[in-house]
């Protein structure tokens, strides 16, 4: 019933509008307005309108900044973030200047040269000097911004400090795991074929290899068993055979890892520490995040630290920074005792993309060591 009424209202509305337009056309005709020429009255109100609009636009901009100043990100909590924020402010200064001046000029022009005010247009069609000036000046300004910007980027991205703490951020649908490298500061190797049970990151260690091989054997045996309950040689059977083949292939890879354990030292993984939900980092020490993904592209976005880097399945990406403000200090600064630094996922990754985060706690070295010592190591975390 509601639907029907809605349609009736819409149809009647359109009919009414049609009639209104016809009435206005007839009244125009009676007034000698052909509907094409712009009358003086219209010209004046439109040009005033544009000027008022532009100033209204400025006012809207100013009001928004004033009203919502507090939700803008606070001062950056990382070393390179300071440089980025300064670069941002300089760029904003330049573009705000350009924005304001060009709009003021536009306002002036549409006002001053409305056809009611300027009866004959000039025929001046070009001015090569002007073209030179307004090509050269932007080139110089942009040249400065380019050099400044590139330098800032390079200092943020190059030369990972030697003494960085290595932390892996492992993304998957729909959570993050932070993996600490332990005392040796070397992260254990990992491979997606090793993912099994509690070894959710696929970390390679002597023990995890053995448990993975055992799990493959069990799995393959179960699959072979399941073949007895399907029609031999049929579609279901083929499917199971495909799965078995893939399991064997992956098992072969893991067996190769086992064989390599003569040469590779997988014990570096034993002291790795895995945490979820929240991870801690010490103040004033560089952290090098090594970022991986299990399934689709995610992105590690830590806005307070001016840090972001995609997590790409099949490769490792990295981003480093040095935190400069502890969580406690930031809470005082913002007057918000509930504040937490956050790691967001910032690349669309599926249904719960918007709900994939970790808290980040920045604290003193002692607090950090204490916290770290309380976290279970990979070796002990059920991966025997």
């Amino acid at each position: 019933m509601t639907t029907f009424l809605i349609y009736i209202v819409l149809i009647l509305g359109i009919v009414a509008l049609v009639q209104l337009v016809r009435v206005s056309e007839i009244s125009n005709f009676l007034n000698g307005d052909d509907g094409i020429v712009i009358t003086d009255k219209e010209t004046n109100s439109l040009s005033y309108g544009l000027v008022i609009f532009i100033f209204g636009y400025f006012a809207f901009y100013a009001w928004l900044v004033w009203r919502f100043w507090d939700i803008l990100l606070p001062d950056s909590a990382s070393e390179h973030g300071v440089a980025i924020d300064t670069l941002f402010n300089v760029n904003m200064l330049v573009i705000t200047f350009v924005f304001v001046v060009t709009h003021l000029v536009l306002a002036y022009l549409v006002f001053r040269y409305a056809k009611t005010k300027n009866k004959v247009a000039s025929f001046k069609s070009h001015d090569n000097t002007l073209e030179l000036i307004w090509t050269t000046v932007p080139t110089i300004v942009l040249g400065v911004l380019i050099v400044y910007g590139i330098n800032t980027w390079n200092s943020a991205m190059r030369d990972v400090p030697e003494d960085s703490i290595n932390i892996e951020l492992y993304a998957r649908q729909f959570d993050w795991t932070a993996r600490y490298a332990g005392k040796d500061n070397i992260l254990g190797k990992a491979n997606f074929r090793m993912i099994n049970g509690t070894n959710t990151l696929g970390i390679i260690s002597k023990n995890s290899i053995d448990s993975r091989l055992a799990a493959y054997d069990t799995d393959i045996a179960e699959l072979e068993e399941s073949r007895t309950s399907v029609f031999p040689g049929g579609a279901n059977d083929e499917e199971i055979l495909d799965v078995i083949a893939l399991r064997k292939k992956h098992k072969g890879y893991v067996m190769q890892l086992k064989a390599n354990s003569e040469v590779e030292d997988y014990s570096v993984a034993d002291d790795d520490i895995l945490v979820k939900v929240e991870f801690h980092i010490p103040i004033n020490k560089p952290v090098n995040f090594q970022i991986r993904s299990q399934d689709v592209i995610h992105s590690a976005y830590m806005p307070h630290f001016r840090a972001q880097m995609n997590a790409v399945p099949g490769m490792m990406t990295q981003f480093y920074f040095t935190p400069t403000i502890t969580t406690a200090e930031m809470r005082t600064k913002l007057g918000n005792p509930e504040f937490n630094y956050l790691l967001f996922c910032n690349k669309i990754c599926g249904t719960a993309h918007y709900n994939m985060q970790m808290n980040i706690v920045v604290e003193s070295e002692e607090d950090y060591q204490k916290w770290l010592s309380e976290q279970p190591k990979f070796y002990t975390a059920g991966n025997k």
Partner: protein, 583 residues
């Protein structure tokens, strides 16, 4: 060509006539735009009131996708994805280029029709087919494509990653393949026509800037769309034939996949190699149309005609070497951040030159504020507003914190959703008399203009602040994060403007349809413009001109030429004794 018996089908449906095809593009593009706009209204409701129940969501989407009136998160992502796809491709590429290239190229260069009427017709019907497939994809059981309009793999390659990556994604790829074919057919036609079929006296330096812009747009399209086609093809292979172009080392839905050796970054490069020129494919025609409309309505030559051509060429060329700015934090080698920051910031130079030339055209002009001119002025304002935030995003260091936040959403909506759309409106109001032989209603046009322009900034300007607050894009909800508490108020402002702005477009639609049938009959040259399209009869005819093709003697910008009494001198008017026709 003229004088053959036409049926309804050969006249209105399967026409070879570029003027009919241009109207087909406009109407289909507009219809798709309303679908895309409707989608944005729906997801804006969720964004400003996360988790709240809206009767209209359930009414339109049903119990499956809006149970209890609350938008389903997967459908949210689908709406965002299809909204983006429709707006970028169906409205702003086909709707803008398709309409105006088809209408203006043969008319403004003095040709009977496009070089190939058959390819032109096919270009439209592939576009129509593509639209139908895209609309069909909305109705599949697991939902339409939902990986964002960029559909990055592995999310878009693996149906188990997201429901929309199943049949919905397959249909998206089919639709886009058809669309790419349409664009390529059109683009080739436009290039060949402009190069070969210019009438006598129509040197390249006497072409209106709209043609220069459409010419370069077609070249950009022909060079870049095939790369998207390649990207889509490899994605189809990964989805269907078990290849690993984009996939490696994936464990998903409890299974380790048998795909190794590929890289998602390959897709990024292939996609954005089109993706960036694509936005200039959208922007260049807008710039070209604006030049014509501003010049005609200011009764002044476009200032710096040659500089304008030069800057179009510069923008066109540079647009091919900036794609990496979409990938600064994708994991590609950081050195590329240096390279692309450099090239991307350079593109601001010719863009600035164009803005200065538009302003100089207004200076000492005699401005007629037609509805088209109002939209052209709005185009200049929004181009400045959106362009300057591009300078921020071009900088790799600044992109670190702003990538994939609402700051980016604000930037691209202001340059594309506002600037290019304003130009498209301007084009429709200005060339409607040529397309339908009637005038659109002026008063309705002004109302449409003021409400649209106001709501436009009302919707997108506040989003800069959301982005600077760190709000990621494509988030179904942000109420999980106390840090985004302040964002809710902004989101409400945005939605309010969006709803009003969206509704007023129906007034435009009404004006369009009403005027097609009942608008006052147009004179031959209502805007007293110099270009050749206004020398054809008001009633459309195949072959455009009865009798001989026009001969061109001068450039198109002789407005307020002191050597003439009239304040305009059409291109066909022969030169006087000692007069110079080129500038």
């Amino acid at each position: 060509m003229s004088g053959h018996k036409e049926s309804f089908i050969t006249k209105y449906l399967f026409s070879y006539d570029h003027k009919m095809i241009s109207r087909q593009f406009l109407l289909t593009g507009t219809a798709m735009a309303f679908v895309g706009m409707g989608m944005s209204m729906l997801f804006r409701l969720q964004l400003s009131s996360p988790g709240e129940s809206f009767w209209i969501l359930n009414f339109i989407l049903g119990d499956k996708w809006a149970p209890g009136g609350v938008l389903d998160p997967n459908m949210y992502m689908s709406l965002v994805t299809i909204h983006g796809t429709i707006m970028v491709f169906f409205l702003l590429t086909a709707g803008l280029s398709g309409t105006f290239a088809n209408l203006l190229i043969p008319l403004q260069i003095g040709a009977r029709d496009m070089a190939s009427g058959m390819l032109n017709m096919l270009s439209y019907w592939f576009f129509f087919g593509s639209s139908v497939v895209m609309i069909c994809s909305l109705f599949v059981e697991a939902g339409p494509a939902s990986g964002g309009w960029t559909v990055y793999p592995p999310l878009s390659a693996l149906p188990q990653a997201m429901p929309g990556s199943g049949l919905g994604m397959t249909l998206w790829l089919v639709s886009m393949s058809l669309f790419i074919i349409s664009s390529l057919l059109g683009g080739l036609n436009y290039i060949v026509t402009i190069v070969n079929l210019r009438t006598k006296g129509m040197k390249m330096t006497r072409l209106p800037l709209s043609i220069w812009a459409l010419f370069l747009t077609a070249i950009l399209g022909v060079l870049s769309f095939p790369v998207l086609f390649a990207a889509a093809l490899l994605l189809i292979f990964d989805r269907t034939f078990g290849t690993s172009f984009y996939l490696s080392d994936i464990f998903i839905a409890g299974e380790a996949l048998d795909r190794t050796g590929g890289s998602p970054l390959l897709y990024h490069h292939l996609f954005w190699f089109l993706g960036h020129p694509e936005v200039y494919i959208i922007l260049l025609p807008a710039l070209g149309l604006t030049s014509e409309i501003i010049s005609t309505n200011a009764r002044k030559p476009i200032f710096g005609y040659r500089a304008m051509i030069g800057s179009l060429l510069a923008i066109g060329f540079l647009s091919f070497i900036v794609w990496g700015h979409h990938m600064y934090i994708s994991g590609m080698n950081p050195f590329l951040g240096d390279v692309f920051t450099f090239t991307t910031l350079l593109i601001a130079i010719p863009s600035a030159v164009k803005v200065f030339n538009y302003l100089s055209t207004l200076w000492q002009g005699k401005i007629h504020f037609t509805v088209a001119m109002m939209f052209a002025i709005a185009m200049v304002s929004t181009f400045i507003s959106g362009g300057v935030t591009g300078i921020i995003l071009a900088d790799a260091a600044l992109d670190i914190n702003l990538h994939d936040t609402y700051f980016v959403v604000a930037h691209f909506h202001i340059v594309m959703g506002l600037s290019a759309v304003m130009a498209m409106f301007a084009g429709v109001y200005h060339w409607f008399p040529k397309m339908w032989g009637r005038m659109m209603n002026k008063k309705l046009g002004y109302i449409h203009f003021w409400v649209t322009f106001t709501c436009a900034y009302g919707v997108f300007f506040p989003q800069h602040i959301q982005g600077l607050a760190g709000l990621p894009r494509r988030y179904y909800s942000y109420s999980e994060f106390p840090m985004f508490e302040g964002v809710a108020d902004i989101a409400s402002i945005v939605t309010a403007f969006a709803i009003v702005g969206g509704l007023i477009q129906f007034l435009f639609l009404f004006n369009l349809i009403y005027s097609m049938f009942r608008g006052p009959k147009a004179p031959q040259n209502p805007w007293k413009s110099n270009t050749l399209e206004w020398t054809t009869p008001v009633e459309h005819m195949h072959g455009n001109w009865p009798g001989e093709l026009p001969v061109v003697h001068r450039w198109p910008y002789d407005y307020s030429n002191p050597d003439h009494d009239e304040d305009f001198v059409p291109q066909i008017v022969p030169l006087k004794e000692g007069e110079v026709g080129d500038h």
